[in-house]
């Protein structure tokens, strides 16, 4: 009996997916769909929160008051994105506290790009231009993802990300139009960020175990390699416009495919950083754990006060 009911629920789910009807929190969904989404959305939320650290590293040293204001607002936006995304994931039945715990223990992953250090001001430009550029490439299709709360969160996120990318490009442009030292700063940052940014799209399609199912469920709309190719095709002309050299001697236009061929990605580096051996993995987790531990008394006090206030209200009622 049970299996028949299950089957028909699954049929309804599949029909919705097929006809592009959004899945909503109260709808029946396969456990694996739910799990895949919780993993993906919480990873995405964690990336926003951990992503505050490398750029936050330059807030106190931003070179002008205007840049300082823009950077502060940008990093704050990332906290906001984290909030929307944690809320979206919570609709699937996992609490923010639980997700936080998984991040802090190292169990949950976040985008490996944030395990690289920001060494110069140009890194703030490079992150905005390249990393946010790659994020937009990944995220615009997610505005049409099959799970409603995730898709709606992504609409808000994407609007702000495009502003982030513009400010990054503008920093790079200012540097590239500046002194020799500033141009060198821009090129040096570009050299360091280019390859890790290409890795942001995830492993090659043939090595991405979740892609096929996620495409079928319309969680993902394009494969990792498709998005990576689009990104390269979009960024190479921008780099040329800035007067920067793409750090890839194998990069060349391929007329037949109407896109660029590019050199081999160092997947050893990618997996090594995923495993926790990137230059900043330890520092990033340490910073998040420190904030959590040092904030414990604040959260306890806020809770205790809220309880007292509620009791007082009851008594006076």
């Amino acid at each position: 009996m049970e299996t028949i009911v299950e089957k028909s629920l699954e049929d309804i789910f599949e029909e919705k997916i097929a006809s592009e009807i959004r899945i909503e929190p109260k709808d029946w969904m396969p456990e694996k769909y739910r799990k895949t989404l919780v993993r993906q959305i919480s990873q995405h939320a964690h990336s926003e929160i951990v992503g505050m650290l490398p750029e936050g590293n330059w807030i106190t040293r931003a070179p002008s008051l205007k840049r300082k204001a823009i950077l502060l607002a940008k990093v704050q936006d990332e906290a906001g994105h984290g909030l929307y995304l944690y809320s979206a994931a919570e609709t699937l039945g996992t609490s923010r506290d639980q997700m936080f715990e998984d991040l802090l223990s190292g169990k949950a992953k976040y985008s490996s790009i944030f395990n690289y250090p920001t060494l110069s001001w140009a890194d703030v430009g490079a992150i905005g231009w390249l990393v946010d550029g790659a994020a937009i490439m990944n995220q615009v299709p997610l505005c049409r993802t099959s799970y409603g709360p995730y898709a709606r969160a992504m609409v808000r996120v994407c609007k702000e990300e495009s502003f982030h990318q513009r400010q990054g490009f503008e920093i790079m442009m200012t540097l590239c139009n500046g002194s020799e030292e500033q141009k060198e700063m821009a090129q040096e940052a570009f050299n360091r960020w280019w390859w890790p940014t290409l890795m942001m799209f995830g492993p090659k399609d043939e090595e991405s175990p979740n892609t096929e199912q996620s495409m079928r469920w319309k969680i993902k709309r394009f494969t990792n390699d498709e998005l990576r190719q689009r990104f390269v095709d979009m960024m190479v002309p921008q780099a040329e416009f800035l007067g920067l050299t793409v750090p890839d001697k194998d990069l060349k236009w391929n007329e037949a495919k109407g896109g660029y061929d590019f050199g081999a990605i160092d997947w050893n580096e990618f997996w090594n950083v995923v495993k926790g051996n990137g230059p900043c993995n330890k520092d990033r987790l340490k910073a998040r754990n420190k904030a959590q531990e040092e904030g414990a008394w604040v959260r306890e006090a806020a809770m205790a006060y809220a309880e007292k206030a509620a009791t007082r209200e009851k008594k006076s009622a």
Binding site: L65, L72, A79, G178
Partner: protein
């Protein structure tokens, strides 16, 4: 707790005061310039301190709230530096004034350069300042200096959120757990000594008060005393006894902390002089 301060700030402060400069004698102009710079320094340094929290706050929503206050103060500082640069009339920009003056030229009171400490220290520093700032801006709106009045009017809207945020947190932490109360008591012990300087008028301030360009501090101090006493009482925290008040910041005699703030703040402008960013 979802309020104004948990919303991301997208609207950045841009030049918005285009009113022409008032006619002042060179002496008065110098006074207004010095004072505007003092206000700008104060907002900038406190903004800088709050910005150090960004990404490290105890609760995501409060991380955002502190960044919001930081952004508001930075916007206020920019409006003030831009005005100061105009008054000075030497072709300097807001950035020249912020990035190319050394610690002794900075005129902020000592309170705002004090280190963040723990969240309770930051909340208390903010509470002392916000209460002053709020009642001060209310009066400054009536300044005979049109630009200062306009800047005050704009900043007052923001400051009314700031005072609400920090007052609520003083109450929450004071009347929260035993530990949070102890921490707030420690914060009061540490920071109260810097509250007096806010109301101590320098010769520049006295001269401007006589000209009705800035408000007298007596009534502001009375409002400050009243609000502070109310909040501390609700927070079940004891109102501190009269005590020695540190001062000197408004004269350029700072704590050792300011130099480190400026070496971060000014690093790129100092390392690569004269470049555009």
């Amino acid at each position: 707790m979802m309020d104004h301060h948990t919303q991301p700030a997208h609207v950045l402060h841009e030049l918005q005061f285009k009113t022409p400069l008032q006619e002042y004698s060179p002496e008065v102009r110098q006074l207004v310039f010095d004072y505007t710079l003092q206000l700008a320094d104060t907002s900038l340094i406190l903004s800088h301190r709050l910005a150090e929290w960004c990404g490290h706050g105890p609760i995501l929503e409060q991380d955002m709230a502190m960044t919001n206050i930081s952004l508001d103060l930075l916007g206020e500082a920019r409006n003030l530096y831009q005005y100061a640069a105009e008054l000075e009339g030497k072709g300097h920009t807001e950035d020249d004034l912020a990035y190319l003056r050394d610690a002794v030229a900075y005129k902020n009171p000592l309170l705002v350069e004090q280190p963040n400490g723990n969240f309770g220290d930051t909340v208390l520093r903010q509470f002392i300042f916000d209460t002053f700032h709020y009642f001060f801006l209310k009066e400054l709106q009536n300044s005979t200096d049109h630009r200062l009045a306009a800047i005050a009017e704009k900043s007052l809207k923001e400051a009314s959120y700031h005072i609400k945020w920090s007052s609520e947190w003083v109450i929450r932490l004071g009347d929260g757990t035993e530990e949070s109360k102890k921490r707030m008591e420690a914060a009061i012990d540490e920071l109260w000594t810097y509250s007096g300087e806010l109301f101590e008028a320098t010769p520049t301030e006295k001269a401007l008060q006589e000209l009705d360009i800035i408000p007298d501090y007596t009534s502001i101090k009375a409002e400050w005393d009243k609000h502070v006493a109310q909040v501390l009482q609700e927070a079940t925290l004891a109102l501190p006894q009269d005590q020695w008040m540190q001062s000197g910041g408004k004269y350029g005699r700072h704590s050792e902390h300011l130099g480190y703030i400026l070496s971060d703040l000014q690093y790129l402008q100092r390392t690569y002089p004269g470049q555009k960013w």
